[in-house]
Symmetry: C2
Subunit: 427 residues, 2 copies
């Protein structure tokens, strides 16, 4: 059987038109019913996941990937719970974000509408199947899910349950379309359906994201990597700086909002770095330092240019002593990824300069980089984080899955009152 | 001399960092100084334009293109005036669009920041050089201008004056970068500088826009064409409908917000169409009708499927009698371009259904399609109109040349309070 991706996408677009017109209450009920489906069918999901796990083990897939792939009762309950959470978010569709009356009496509104059809391209984690579908549907969109081959059984089980909930509600199941033909050329075809797909969101490793960005003809929102910096200013509260460092590096090293590089003002390096190094060492973090850092701390590896550009996603941190705030800014401009940067400083002028000079999506003063997350920032849930400086920048909630359009209401206003008798534009 | 487009773009990006940091007052002064340069150097601009005109006439370029290319004292005064108007717009940069305090006390702001570097790709009209530069600078961006070869002398003169105003203000002239190497491969290279160019906006004919959309690797905001519809409902006020029809079709047929197709409910076709046809005929508009329209009006050409999809940009209109509102919606969904649609109806329920069912960027009730314009909608000026359902949808003002980012301020808050002594994530 060959999948016709264009027909599948067209069916999703038709279904999306139906979803776009649903009331807030019906969308909420739908997502609650989906949570019910997941809860009631945990055994079925687990059985499917076991097939994926067996296959992954057979293929010799690494431990980190296996962990992302694995579902258990607790994780399935988490998937159902996140459906309930999305169900309870305020509905963005139909929100009037601006209303003006023009001098001629025409009333102009900006109104939030769904984007249309969103293609999610992702890797191992099966929960993305449900999370992405929930967010897209809540914002009135259709979604085309193209997950990784390693999770195909799990994704099929989960998408099947979401589609059942759609059917039970009298809605077209194609609103959640799972791509089961995982050939690369089929993904390429999907990414070029500019007349059907309104947005592609790749989530996964840098390789996948670069592939999507390189080949898509539809708009793409993405972030390649999070090389997040903590700059400890000479005016830092060192206790605060230490808290931010440990939370940022250690609490979840594999997250894109984890710290990768520590920059320290030379005037406080002596006071801060030995304390920081001891705390990091206690957390088993490997240090790689600039020349001055190595001289100060002794016995640590030298950091190369590659270290400063690296997203370790691991218990490793690059450390550089800088002459001043300007040097810290220059370092981040050169090596940063526009994701999240933090300054620890009690000096408001330095904080302001740091904020103004950096173009990153999220800049923080005396706060952990780990807050650069849709859930933490009160977006309710996160479909992704954008470092594309367009449409959305930083953590993206359901609002980022909508767009504002114009609705005008008048009573016959025209731009130029023309009299057909006197008007003869061709002569 | 070969232009190194990458070096030029990098210089623009560096300059954009400076522009991003300017106060509202300095940007306003800069634009006023630019208007002064244009005013004071009208003779120089005219001389350059004469070179372009002579070359265009020599090449046998058509009258419409010649008119777009031509500058005269009045048009140059208009260019200077539009600089003054942009100077006086409210500055979008730094606007705080949302401020929340998280339960942990962290203050989260969404703050408008410039996009960065914007590449404008356009054709004959030299005023785009100045208008685009003014809007990009006002929103804190750098701009790379790639105009058409037919206007190169005019563009060089105008860009030179803008750069002089930058220099006089002690600012880097590369903030306004004119591409003088007009080879296609150089444009392709520009459109693939994903690490430098944040957005490309093509303006011109559908061929140019498709070329940019097809080849760009940087994000593109565009509209291919405006196939705008007027649907005259059975509950229309026929006087209003007639005003909207004539204004929409006749006041400026070459505009993208001009009407291209008239849809008429069958129940009022007898009452409306003969009047409409007479008024259109008085304005020298050629009619192309569906079978029923031809039967009713007699003696007009038959409309084909191509007519319904056409953006005539001329005094031609396609007319179709439809059975009901649903048929009108189905027609627009099939043939529309997501630009602007108008319903003439006194029935609020029909108007609501029309608005909800159509996904176009601008939908209007009892108002002329010609209001689908940044200036008319109070955006101050317009950098383009987007039918890409992302970032901006419909007329784009300076706000659309910015993006909101996150600024967080705390006093040491972390996501997980970790004790290095108890924490040992690797074991």
């Amino acid at each position: 059987m060959t999948t016709d991706i264009r027909s599948a996408a067209l069916a999703c677009r038709d279904a999306a038109t139906t979803i776009a017109g649903l009331s807030a209450a019906r969308k909420r009920d739908l997502l609650i019913a989906m949570a019910g489906q997941v809860d009631a069918n945990a055994a079925l999901i687990l059985a499917a996941n076991e097939l994926d796990m067996a296959q992954a083990i057979h293929r010799g897939i690494g431990a980190a990937m296996l962990d992302r792939l694995r579902l258990d009762a607790r994780r399935i309950a988490g998937i159902a719970r996140s459906l309930m959470e999305v169900a309870d978010l305020p509905d963005p569709v139909g929100q009037v974000t601006r209303r003006d009356t023009l001098p001629n009496g025409v009333v102009v509104e900006r109104v939030r509408v769904p984007l249309g059809v969103i293609a999610m391209i992702y890797e191992a984690r099966p929960n993305v199947t449900v999370d992405a579908a929930a967010l897209c549907l809540k914002a009135g969109n259709g979604v085309i899910l193209r997950g990784g081959s390693e999770a195909i059984h799990s994704n099929r089980a989960l998408a099947g349950l979401l589609q059942q909930a759609l059917r039970d509600a009298g809605l077209p199941p194609a609103a959640v379309t799972l791509v089961e033909d995982l050939r690369r050329e089929t993904m390429l075809e999907l990414l070029q359906l500019t007349d059907i797909v309104d947005l592609a969101i790749p989530r996964g490793g840098e390789g996948l994201i670069r592939f999507v960005a390189e080949h898509a003809r539809v708009p793409v929102i993405k972030h390649y990597k999070g090389v997040c910096h903590l700059y400890v200013d000479k005016a830092a509260n060192l206790g605060v700086a230490l808290d931010l460092l440990i939370d940022g590096k250690v609490s979840r090293p594999s997250a894109c909002n984890a710290l990768e590089t520590l920059l320290v003002h030379k005037d406080i390096a002596d006071a801060f770095l030995p304390r920081a190094a001891a705390a990091l060492a206690a957390c088993k973090v490997e240090l790689r330092g600039c020349e001055r850092t190595c001289a100060l701390l002794g016995n640590i590896a030298a950091a190369s240019e590659e270290d400063y550009a690296a997203e370790y996603l691991d218990l490793i941190i690059a450390i550089r002593i800088v002459d001043d705030l300007d040097a810290a800014i220059a370092h981040i401009r050169r090596f940063g990824s526009d994701h999240t940067e933090v300054i620890a400083s009690e000096d408001e002028a330095s904080a302001q300069q740091f904020i103004a000079a950096l173009r990153s999506a999220v800049v923080m003063v005396n706060t952990s980089s780990r807050f650069s997350d849709g859930g933490e920032l009160g977006l309710g849930a996160e479909i992704g984080i954008s470092t594309t400086r367009l449409h959305a920048y930083g953590p993206m909630g359901i609002d980022a899955l909508t767009i504002e359009r114009y609705v005008l209401r008048g009573h016959g206003q025209v731009r130029h009152r023309l009299s057909p008798a006197t008007l003869n534009p061709n002569s």
